[in-house]
Amino acid sequence: MANYGINVWDGSVENCTFESNAGYGVPHTAVGINAEYNSNVKGCMFYRADCVLEGVYSSSTTDNEFYDGYLDLKYDFQVAVTGNSFEGRSGILVTGSCTLVTVSNNQFIECLGMRFDWNTYHHEFVIDGNTFADTDGIRMNGAYDQTSFGFENFAITNNQMGGIQYGGENKIVLGGTDSYIQHGIIAYNTAAIHVQQDASPDDAMIDITNLENIYDGIIQVSDNNIMALGNPPGVLGIALRGQDYDSLSAYVTGNTLYGTEGVFVEGHQMAVVSDNYISQPPGTGSFDADDVTSYIRVEPSETAIVKGNHISSGNKTGVHADKSVMSITAVNGVVRDNVIEGNEVAGTFGLDTALRIDGAFYITDNYYMCQGTRYAENLSPFPNEMVVLGSDSVLGSNGMRVDATGATNPVFKNAREITFSVQGDLSAGTGQMRWMAPEKMELISVSAMVGTAPTGAPIIIDVTQNGTTVFTTQGNRPTILATENDSGLAYPDASQTLLYTKSSFVVDVDQVGSTVAGEDLIVTVKWRPTDWCDTGGT
């Protein structure tokens, strides 16, 4: 054939072969079949020739072979594309808006996969059970071109995307500025990629950009298995980018990511990142001279739920200024049951913090795992384990040292108090009350109260651990002013707040007043059990 084959309207074409005279590897313009209305295409061979379904209505395209030929879907309604194979300069182009489409059980080999044109809009679209081997996966046709894109009510499920042998990006990349992608599920897919072919660390293997702020809904990305092989610079595993967090919700759960930079979600009404496993290639393995730096990042959202994730981060230099393996910024939310491991990385954007939370959060049961054999001994744990910012967070028990100095009104639900009392007149002296730390712990505050106020001079209390005051700045010692009963809270010096099991803990009365000594003293020490990554103490 030349450049034109069959134009079919309300009919079927079966078991035909279409071949153009275009040279090998040369773009062709031949159309083997141009199908319209109720037209089926079955069992045909397209060799350097395309099949165009334009305005097709209630039709199926099955069991065809495309070699250097495209299947072009444009303005179609109710179409089943099943059991076809695509290879070479080939694949499915979606160049017009389509509705009610199933693309299933097809095989894509060393070709571009599926591509959606900008300025198209699709509803009820199923892409299920396909194999993409060394392809570019499912993505937009070209870079954002200032036109919009819509994808609504869709399922991309049970696809296998591998790029082990010859490369190919093997990604799911949909949307951009002026896009609306809503009410969709991307689940049970597997994807693998050679990272060397991608130079941008902001790219992601599942990458949904949804920047049209007039729509709402949910995007669910769950139970996918994603693997990136190779060396720097790495790619994100999953990225969901929104703009107006009044309207969209993102749900990223149950995914397994290997050798990627992790998960990134921004600008959603609610962002849920849960039960994902982001593992790290071995540092000296055959694939990676350096470990990949991985993250979970939730950037401004209204509510963020980040729970049950395990993330292992490497020693490659990161690109984010906050230097955190897990960084969550939202108005409010929950961060719980996460496990983080990694080691301090030197450099401008190296990592030094395991978990950073900014907002009003409920934070509990997170753990920093640093004592294993994964990292060499000369790599130190993060100096900052958990950093809490914002106001009104509530913290439960965490297996991490918490730095809440930048937070307003944090509440520690696992705080405990021990009280020491002296009845009757006070007298100055050291070692009047003693205690032994029952476990690894962190001092929060010390306060004192008396039944009878001192006059003439204040009462001053000191606390020492193993003979050294915890109030390095002595002016910060708990002090009950003359004629008053309560010292208020006094905070130990930050360098003196950690106590190991069986540390000796002594309360001294340094001063009792002058004209009248205070009476009936109670000293309250507030502390919490904690853990932190060093091997000191006993």
């Binding site: 089943a80 399922a155 639900k413």
Partner: protein, 545 residues
């Protein structure tokens, strides 16, 4: 063709066109379906055909495949099939309400070993399970199909059961389907059961994307499993995205027949990892074992957003009348739309025993709901949180007056980010209890307390007790505890050690809340008479408020 087509057994029908009538009106008058193909027996393939107002019937088939056909106003009628595949077909009925033509996969008796996948079903279409005889769905997979359009039944029961109609489901997987009422109307959902003697064994519904009705109010659950007479086995509903759109429908409803496990059946239901949008939430009741975990229901925007959401949806999780219930790690945001449930809780769990942990609820006090979580039974209740801080709700909207209410006997309560009300519970254990002692050595004397015990954060006094080394005689020892100098026992009985006794037992004060930096003192109001008690210890049990 007119009303007769091809009868095929051990054969193939490929690439044929079947017309049942010339036009809708003319054929309507005949009121009889045309039968294009009747497949009977083994090994029949039907592919690449076009059916217009002409049906395909399967009767006693085995190893039959139907693929890549177009069904326009035409059904596949299945009476009895073994090893059946229906793949890659398109179905279209008619959206004209005056035109009754359907394009469905109708199951009227049994299928054993089947795949129904990758079909596109539009308008007056769907996979219909007809209540005109017992239905058996054994060993099947319904996956990767796309459904939309008006009057589409989705996947579910059609008609009304009568007599002894029932459905039996055994090893059925429904996954990866997109079902949308984007066009409006229809009954786009998964609906199994509701007959007289249903039996559902091992059903999985996973990875589906279902959007409900956005035009007509069809207040029926999107995933609706009802088996009120008999039901054994496991049902798993997970990883679905369920959009109820603007109406108060349950996203998931499973109603069994084993209230509190009293029938000793093996009913087990797991609902996990689903995202719910604009719906009433999840309801599971009368099932022996219930697990509802890791489901997420964000709240569509409120009055300022759009017409769809002028009233916020009420979202709830209800696990009722179970033997054992686990409800954990769910996030559910509830709105102001009226709820029909009497207990007014975002999460309500009622069972003999179970675990309620790691849930996050948010919402505000409204006529509809006023409680975060109600737990009724012997439960481990831990790490639940009420998310009331932030900008989601306007400042004029107040928090729930009741955050976590525990009822029943024998619950254990850990640390929760919610205020706990156990006034209707018995034998409750708090794992976050702290204890502080006052002690007075020697013989007691009546005295006002001068030793001030401060609390540096808000706490709740749970109970107070007293014990002496030497028992009083002649009269009791009475102890009082004051908050900022005022007794916290203005009405209740103060801790009292009776004459000749050494222990007061626990006394619960009237005033229980102590704010940060407030303090308690302990008075001795009475010491005995003949012999004063001596060596007193006063125990204050408290926990963080």
């Amino acid at each position: 063709m007119s009303n007769v087509g091809i009868v095929v057994g051990e054969g193939s029908v490929i690439g044929c066109t079947f017309y049942g009538a010339w036009d809708d009106i003319g054929y309507e008058a005949l009121a009889t379906d045309a039968l294009a193909i009747e497949a009977d027996g083994w090994w029949s393939n039907i592919s690449s055909c076009k059916f217009t107002r002409a049906n395909v019937e399967l009767r006693n088939t085995q190893s039959c495949s139907i693929y890549s056909n177009r069904f326009y106003k035409s059904d596949i009628q299945i009476w009895d099939a073994v090893d059946l595949s229906v793949m890659g077909n398109t179905f279209e009925g008619n959206d004209n309400v005056n035109d009754f033509w359907t394009a469905r996969i109708n199951v009227s008796n049994s299928i054993d070993g089947f795949v129904i996948s990758n079909n596109a079903l539009h308008e007056n279409s769907g996979i219909a399970l007809n209540w005109n005889s017992p239905i058996f769905l054994w060993n099947g997979n319904i996956s990767g199909n796309a459904f939309d359009g008006t009057s589409n039944v989705g996947i579910g029961m059609v008609g009304v059961p009568f007599g002894f109609d029932y459905i039996e489901v055994f090893d059925l997987n429904i996954s990866g389907n997109v079902m949308s009422d984007w066009w409006g109307g229809g009954d786009m959902r998964i609906n199994l059961g509701g007959g007289n003697d249903d039996s559902i064994w091992d059903l999985m519904i996973t990875g589906n994307n279902i959007e409900g009705d956005d035009v007509n109010v069809v207040a029926l659950p999107l995933i609706d499993i009802t088996s009120e007479s008999q039901f054994s086995g496991n049902i798993t509903i997970s990883d679905n995205i369920l959009n109820g759109y603007a109406f108060d429908v349950w996203s998931v409803s499973v109603i069994g027949s084993d209230s509190f496990g009293l029938t000793s059946s093996r009913q087990s239901v797991t609902v996990s990892n689903n995202t719910l949008w604009a719906s009433a939430g999840i309801l599971v009741e009368d099932v022996n074992f219930i697990t509802i975990a890791d489901n997420y229901k964000p709240q569509p925007r409120g009055p300022s957003w759009s017409n769809y959401y002028s009233v916020r949806e009420t979202g709830q999780i209800r696990a009722i009348a179970s033997s054992k219930a686990t409800v954990m790690n769910n996030y559910i945001s509830s709105g102001s739309r009226a709820s029909t449930t009497p207990d007014k809780a975002v999460i309500y769990v009622e069972a003999y025993e179970g675990k309620v942990s790691g849930n996050v609820v948010e919402g505000y006090d409204s006529a509809a709901l006023d409680t975060g979580i109600i737990v009724d039974g012997a439960f481990f209740v831990n790490d639940n949180h009420y998310l009331g801080v932030g900008q989601r709700y306007a400042t004029s909207e107040t928090r729930f007056p009741n955050e976590l209410v525990v009822r029943g006997d024998g619950s254990t309560i850990g640390i929760n980010g919610m205020e706990v009300d156990t006034s209707a519970a018995t034998s409750t254990t708090f794992l976050d209890l702290s204890e502080t002692y006052f002690s007075m050595r020697g013989a007691l004397a009546v005295t006002g307390g001068t030793l001030r015990l401060p609390f540096r954060q808000d706490v709740e006094i749970v109970a107070i007790s007293a014990m002496v080394g030497t028992a009083p005689t002649g009269a009791s020892v009475i102890v009082d505890v004051n908050l900022l100098g005022t007794s916290i026992f203005p009405t209740s009985t103060k801790p009292t050690i009776a004459a000749s006794s050494v222990d007061s037992g626990l006394a619960v004060p009237d005033t229980t809340f102590v704010a940060a930096d407030e303090y308690l003192t302990v008075d001795v109001d009475q010491v005995g008479s003949t012999v004063a008690g001596s060596d007193l210890s006063v125990l204050i049990q408290w926990r963080l408020a």
